[in-house]
């Protein structure tokens, strides 16, 4: 009897899981309505103009933020690590964080490049003739922009981590006399 109850529970769970999965797949694959396509077609030229402005302002942001992020690595972290080493001192954590920051900086450059390429493709589309392609392209570009944002958040965290580790080093170095 107990065996039948367990079997019944497993069977019911499997059916419910299958129904839930099928519903979610159907929701993702749901075709766009004519009204939605008409709305995209009506507003896409204005949307492309806005995206063009965003493209330009993001390029400026990439140049200015990029310079700042680079300068922290090349003009602050690397020289301090080098100076610590030249003075026969050792702080592995600072070197590790600096190396991690370099990797994150490379990821930031790469993710921005992918975002910019996606944005350029979106801006080149003839959105009146291809509203669905335009809509999908905007979604793809949005996802790539989100990745760039996430990479900047990671960089900010690492900048904070380096500062914390530097303070630990400074405390040890000066014997707590700051």
């Amino acid at each position: 009897m107990k065996r039948y109850i367990i079997f019944g529970l497993i069977f019911t769970t499997a059916i419910i899981a299958g129904v839930v999965w099928r519903t979610s797949v159907q929701a993702q694959d749901m075709p766009m309505t004519e009204a939605h396509i008409a709305r995209i077609r009506a507003n896409c030229v204005e949307a492309q103009t806005r995206l063009g402005q965003l493209h330009a302002s993001d390029a400026l942001l990439r140049v200015n933020r990029g310079q700042l992020y680079e300068s922290i690595s090349t003009k602050l972290m690397a020289p301090l690590n080098s100076r610590i080493s030249l003075n026969h001192l050792d702080d592995v954590n600072l070197v590790t964080i600096a190396a991690s920051y370099e990797g994150q900086l490379a990821y930031f450059r790469q993710s921005y490049q992918q975002y910019e390429e996606a944005m350029s493709r979106t801006l080149k589309l003839n959105c009146i003739n291809q509203p669905v392609v335009f809509y999908d392209s905007v979604a793809d570009t949005r996802a790539k922009r989100k990745k760039v944002h996430e990479s900047t958040v990671t960089l900010h965290e690492t900048i904070g981590d380096y500062k914390k580790e530097f303070e630990v080093f400074a405390k040890q170095f000066t014997g707590g006399d700051q």
Binding site: A35, V63, S71, N87, A170
Partner: protein, 123 residues
């Protein structure tokens, strides 16, 4: 080498000497095209294109780009004493503040609603 072969060789040399200037020009153009293609491929793949604000479409923001020469950084050589530690702290805090005070690439600038391409509300 017989006389017939000699005549054939002379004819070949003569033909080459007649067209060698055109061949030289053609080869120069081909090499130039190849080098330009390599340069453009590197420009696109290296990420330099994304930093190039001289491209069309960036006129409005071109003048707002910062100059990287304004910050000298921390010297990589010298004695590491309390003064140097304080100097580094001051420089790092300033630069870290600049880098982290803006939440870059965030917000809802690319939202469907902002771009007015979201699904219309059903009646």
């Amino acid at each position: 080498m017989n006389e017939e072969q000699q005549l054939h060789n002379d004819h070949t040399l003569d033909s080459w000497s007649k067209h060698r200037f055109m061949v030289l020009v053609g080869m120069t153009i081909l090499i130039s095209l190849f080098l330009v293609s390599v340069a453009l491929a590197l420009y696109a793949s290296s990420g330099a294109a994304q930093l190039d604000l001289s491209r069309p479409g960036y006129q409005s923001v071109r003048n707002q780009a910062g100059h990287s020469t304004s910050f000298d950084g921390f010297p990589a050589t010298g004695v590491l004493d309390k003064k140097a530690i304080d100097e580094f702290r001051s420089l790092y805090d300033k630069q870290a503040e600049k880098a982290t005070n803006v939440d870059s690439f965030s917000g809802n600038a690319m939202n469907e609603q902002t771009l007015s391409i979201d699904p219309p509300a059903e009646n």
